[in-house]
Symmetry: C2
Subunit: 337 residues, 2 copies
């Protein structure tokens, strides 16, 4: 029995290439006293992982070269030297893209009850960081009021699609920005957005004009996942006292030329608007509350959460790259076992 | 008797040049019913005026070509067709750089009591938008707590020098960024900053390293007047939950190449920080409260407000340009009468 691990062996320069990684076969570890061994069934693939590959000051240390790529995983306890975990327990935690993870006490791993969900993978999507980021990001970061307009970038993505649906549940108008006609159709048909805007092949001015047409009074809330031109166009269409929830900046994670940031922040002064950085880790104490609400909305068929699953750890690189090509429909997952 | 007026005759492309303006001699106007004629004694010269010269969507309409350059002025009522104003009353209001302004009812003009101040010009500096911007911007926008670190850009400027002093009054550590050794000395000697950093001839990385050395735990509050490299360096040195009060972006007002904005906004996510646009106009209902507190601090000699006065409306252009050359020491005023 072996443990295949997807290692980071070189820091990507811009867009990651296959040579930045290596799939290594190692022995399955034994649990040290107090530790457990988790057999990973699903690994979450997220834009944030790209940031962890850089040697830059962030909210977590960079992934060390030679270590497997850090990832939240769902799996089962394979071996236990900890009285709180029994072999066979389902768990979720911050582990890595590898078949078996060793988890020391005090890690982020916690037991989950998978009996009520269609798949254990839900703890990486609807009931995981994705659903909770949408929930707390929009509600706490944006404070939406009925009748307000919510503008969402990467709106067909894992987080964006949930943000739009929660905006609608809260009585807001939802405008989604996505790439391509297919995704734009899904925004309306699958996720209930009021307006879908295709950003492809448009200048900041053209995109800004389309947002203005869709939201003549401006956006009260911008839920930003992309940055760059899309954020610049959003900044030109703020309502007074607008709130920008800065959740991600996927457009610049692979830029070898440095960061673009936001060029039109002067509009924050003009509109007395706020741009606030959001990180789901701050809401760990409220995960149960958020998860319960999301589960209820799903049960009521008011919320739809899609998963896009790629099977096989040997496909980890190709799967990860889908994030930066807009190639995934729904939360991107790697099925490992 | 004539009325010299400093007109905007062409929209500046980048840095304003003398040909963008014209000093015109016109007849002194007569007050229409309900209006007053104000003889302007002092005009306030502010970076915001540069923004009003552009044809861009902002919180106020652009100055129309052929109109005098909009400015807050202090003056006396020269003619009145309004029962609330008598000839000789001192007033402050949003008028223009001209010897006489006609003020219609409902304008921003209000009567002031100049008996308790060293000069009526104080209503354009300590007790005007400058003092009130520092007061409300820092206290409401930044919410400083004793022991926190406040980083101020353009710290020797009219607003910045007051921000630093109020930060000290509130028990904070104040770090000021200014251009040149003379200004840096004044930050310490005149305004009580704990640390002065000279930004001149430094890269973002060098500036960031100096801020890091002065504030190893990061800045809890950034009071931003400049933007560009200085804001980028500040963004790399935020404490968790930092608040950036975005008050001005003087570095880009004259840029003919479009806006730089903020390149390092990814740090807002890393530090879960907030960048909030601030405009003093929102605080008009609380001006009396702020003005009273500032006047008290001045009387107690806890707050020093410097004025830099240029005399003569014929020097309006040269005076205005001091703002962009860092040439003024204290609040820049044009003495007209």
């Amino acid at each position: 029995m072996s443990n295949r691990r997807f290692l980071l062996v070189r820091r990507p320069n811009g867009m990651p290439v296959p040579e930045d990684f290596s799939l290594r076969d190692e022995a399955v570890p034994q649990p040290a006293p107090g530790s457990i061994i988790v057999k990973n069934y699903f690994a979450s693939l997220d834009p944030a992982q790209r940031g962890w590959m850089d040697d830059a000051p962030s909210y977590m240390p960079p992934i060390r070269l030679g270590d497997p790529v850090r990832a939240t995983t769902v799996g089962r306890v394979h071996g236990s030297a900890n009285k709180d975990f029994a072999v066979g327990d389902w768990v979720v935690g911050l582990n890595a893209i590898e078949e078996y993870s060793i988890v020391a006490p005090g890690g982020f791993t916690s037991k989950i009850d998978v009996s009520g969900v269609p798949s254990p993978s839900y703890f990486l999507s609807a009931l995981g960081a994705v659903g909770l980021t949408a929930y707390f990001g929009l509600l706490e970061g944006g404070n939406p009021q009925a009748g307000e307009t919510v503008l969402v970038s990467a709106a067909a993505g894992a987080v964006g699609s949930v943000v739009g649906q929660i905006a609608k549940i809260k009585g807001c108008r939802a405008i989604g920005i996505a790439g391509g006609a297919t995704k734009c159709r899904r925004l309306i048909a699958d996720y209930g957005f009021d307006v879908a805007i295709d950003y492809r092949n448009k200048t900041v001015e053209q995109l800004s004009a389309e947002i203005a047409a869709a939201a003549p009074g401006g956006a009260n809330i911008v839920f930003e996942n992309v940055g760059g031109d899309i954020l610049d166009a959003a900044l030109m269409n703020l309502a007074l006292q607008a709130r920008i929830v800065l959740c991600g900046l996927i457009s610049e994670y692979n830029s070898p030329h440095g960061k673009t940031g936001a060029r039109n922040i002067w509009q924050l002064i003009v509109k007395r608007a706020t741009m606030r950085g959001f990180l789901i880790a701050d809401y760990v104490p409220r995960f149960a509350e958020g998860g319960a609400q999301i589960a209820q909305w799903i049960a009521q068929k008011r919320l739809r959460v899609d998963e896009h699953t790629v099977t096989g750890i040997e496909n980890a690189y190709d799967a990860f790259m889908l994030l930066f090509k807009g190639g995934n429909d729904g939360k991107l997952l790697l099925k490992i076992a």
